[in-house]
């Protein structure tokens, strides 16, 4: 399955993802700039903040418990489509998902 990351400057990068891996993990392992994931997906930071593309928000679903509090600490603007990418696990319905990256994570 695939994920397309769209950087703040509009640059698009498509990468292969494994089912069950998080969007954060996929970005880090594919050397995608713009996702840090400092805590490794332990819900200890907000450095994997992303914006789910409008066409995918329904398939992705809502935030996990505590996620909005972490997003309050995100470096870039929080929008209704904001998620922590460590909390989005890849599954068949998300194949082809488009993820927009914020200006900054720190």
């Amino acid at each position: 399955m695939k994920i397309t990351f769209v950087a703040a400057d509009g640059t698009r990068t498509q990468v292969q993802a494994r089912e069950g891996d998080s969007v954060m993990h996929t970005a880090v392992q594919n050397d995608v700039d713009g996702i840090i994931g400092e805590c490794g997906g332990s819900m200890m930071c907000a450095t994997c903040h992303c914006y789910v593309d409008d066409g995918w928000t329904e398939a992705v679903g809502g935030q996990e418990e505590g996620e909005s509090d972490l997003l309050d600490c995100a470096a870039s603007e929080v929008r209704p489509t904001s998620r922590l990418s460590c909390q989005i696990r890849m599954r068949a319905e998300l194949d082809g998902i488009v993820i927009h990256l914020p200006e900054s994570q720190l």
Binding site: Q29, D31, E38, M44, E67
Partner: protein, 405 residues
């Protein structure tokens, strides 16, 4: 500055290299790592990795990152000496690497208590990926494990081993669990939690030695009070020691770590130290050495800003820690040391939230499975107790009030 050498390829060394590039350093970066392979995350070794065995998932960055960032990584290389006069480091393969600035990110190693039997097969430590691989291989054939040390690593392992159906006894020398890291209230909560998992916990008793069986294999642990605990796997989880010997041999001041100033520089302006090995001025004035991802990463960013931009601000990041034990995610913001007052706030059907104060100000907050309260706490460390009382100690409400002000 043309050439920066980093000794250590753990999370701190890796972050230093990455941050130097992010801050715009265009000279050479050479990272010397004693462990084989690319830099990886240690925290999951006692957690997710034990469950899934996926070593690839631990990498901090793929190989392509180091290539595109022009970060030279020499792995499996041991640094034998620092020649400060010549500004060069010597490695075990006979090479000599000159530096304009040297970053010591040598980390820590497992402590070995002075008890007999630690070399017996079946006695393991858990610090590196190689350690974790060894434990995973043995665990499948293990029926009963003894964990010496009731700190984060020992308890994370205990929870994981119980989930895998292995019997576990934890032996802790002090009267409570995680004595260095959490309040008595939180320690009591975790004691109940581990008992409910079926783990036997022996507190206030020291391990006196490892018992061996017929083939010399570990068969359990002898306790100082004469009791014996049987087990075919013995995990020694009795804390770590900083890897400060190289610095000490080079004449740098060391006392439980490499002593650095508030900018994380040693007395030699060409050498900085960071992460687990660095003893930096803490909020109470005394040198403070933290063993955490947070310190490794925040130190590294701080050093990179100083080296690239000459930013001389003192390091002052709020420390945070976490430990996943079974389904319980323990999160700590701030520092417990010096706390003179604590407040345990009971939560319905959940672990308490423990607030610790020092001289009327919030010093630390402990939470379990409450990332929102933890994140709020990180922004409130240092806040006067009165300002929190005014919000009924609802930290999320308090932080919103602060941001609105």
């Amino acid at each position: 500055m043309q050439r920066i050498v980093i000794i250590g390829s753990g999370q701190g060394g890796q972050q230093a290299a990455a941050s130097l590039r992010q801050e715009g350093f265009s000279g050479e970066i050479l990272m010397l790592g004693e462990e084989p392979g690319l830099p990886y995350q240690r925290p999951p070794l006692s957690k997710a990795y034990m469950a899934n065995g996926d070593a690839g998932a631990l990498l901090l960055k793929p190989a392509a990152f180091y290539e595109r960032s022009a970060i030279m990584l020499r792995d499996g290389v041991r640094v034998t000496a620092i020649d400060r006069a010549a500004r060069a480091v010597l490695t075990g393969d006979g090479a000599r690497h000159a530096y304009d600035h040297l970053i010591l990110a040598t980390g820590a190693r497992n402590a070995r208590p002075p008890i007999p039997g630690l070399d017996a097969p079946g006695v393991v430590g858990l610090r590196s990926l190689a350690d974790a691989e060894r434990i995973r291989r043995r665990l499948a054939a293990t029926r009963q494990a003894v964990v010496v040390g009731g700190g984060f690593i020992g308890l994370e392992f205990a929870a994981m081993a119980r989930a895998a159906g292995v019997g576990v006894t934890v032996v802790e020398a002090t009267p409570r669990l995680m004595a260095r890291a959490v309040s008595p209230e939180m320690a009591a909560h975790f004691l109940d939690l581990h008992r409910a998992m079926g783990t036997e916990l022996l507190l206030g008793v020291q391990a006196a030695g490892v018992l061996t069986g017929a083939a010399g294999h570990a068969a359990g642990v002898a306790l100082a009070d004469g009791r014996e605990v049987a087990g075919d796997l013995v995990l020694m989880a009795t804390g770590v020691r900083p890897n400060a010997e190289l610095a000490e041999a080079a004449g740098l001041a060391c006392a439980n770590g490499i002593l650095v100033d508030a900018t994380l520089a040693t007395a030699d302006p060409a050498i900085s130290a960071l992460g687990d090995v660095a003893a930096f001025p803490g909020p109470l004035g005394a040198p403070l050495r933290l063993e955490s991802v947070q310190a490794a990463v925040d130190h590294a960013r701080h050093v990179a800003r100083r080296l690239v931009h000459g930013d001389g601000r003192p390091y002052a990041a709020v420390p945070w820690f976490w430990s996943d034990q079974g389904k319980a995610k323990l999160q700590i913001a701030g520092l417990l040391s010096g706390a003179d007052h604590s407040l345990a706030l009971p939560q319905p059907d959940a672990a308490p939230v423990v607030l610790l104060f020092r001289q009327g100000r919030l010093a630390a907050v402990e939470t379990v499975n409450a990332p929102g309260i933890h994140m709020a706490a990180r922004r409130l460390i240092g806040a006067p107790q009165d300002s929190l009382r005014a919000h009924g100690y609802d930290l999320r409400a308090a932080v919103k009030a602060v941001s609105a002000a």
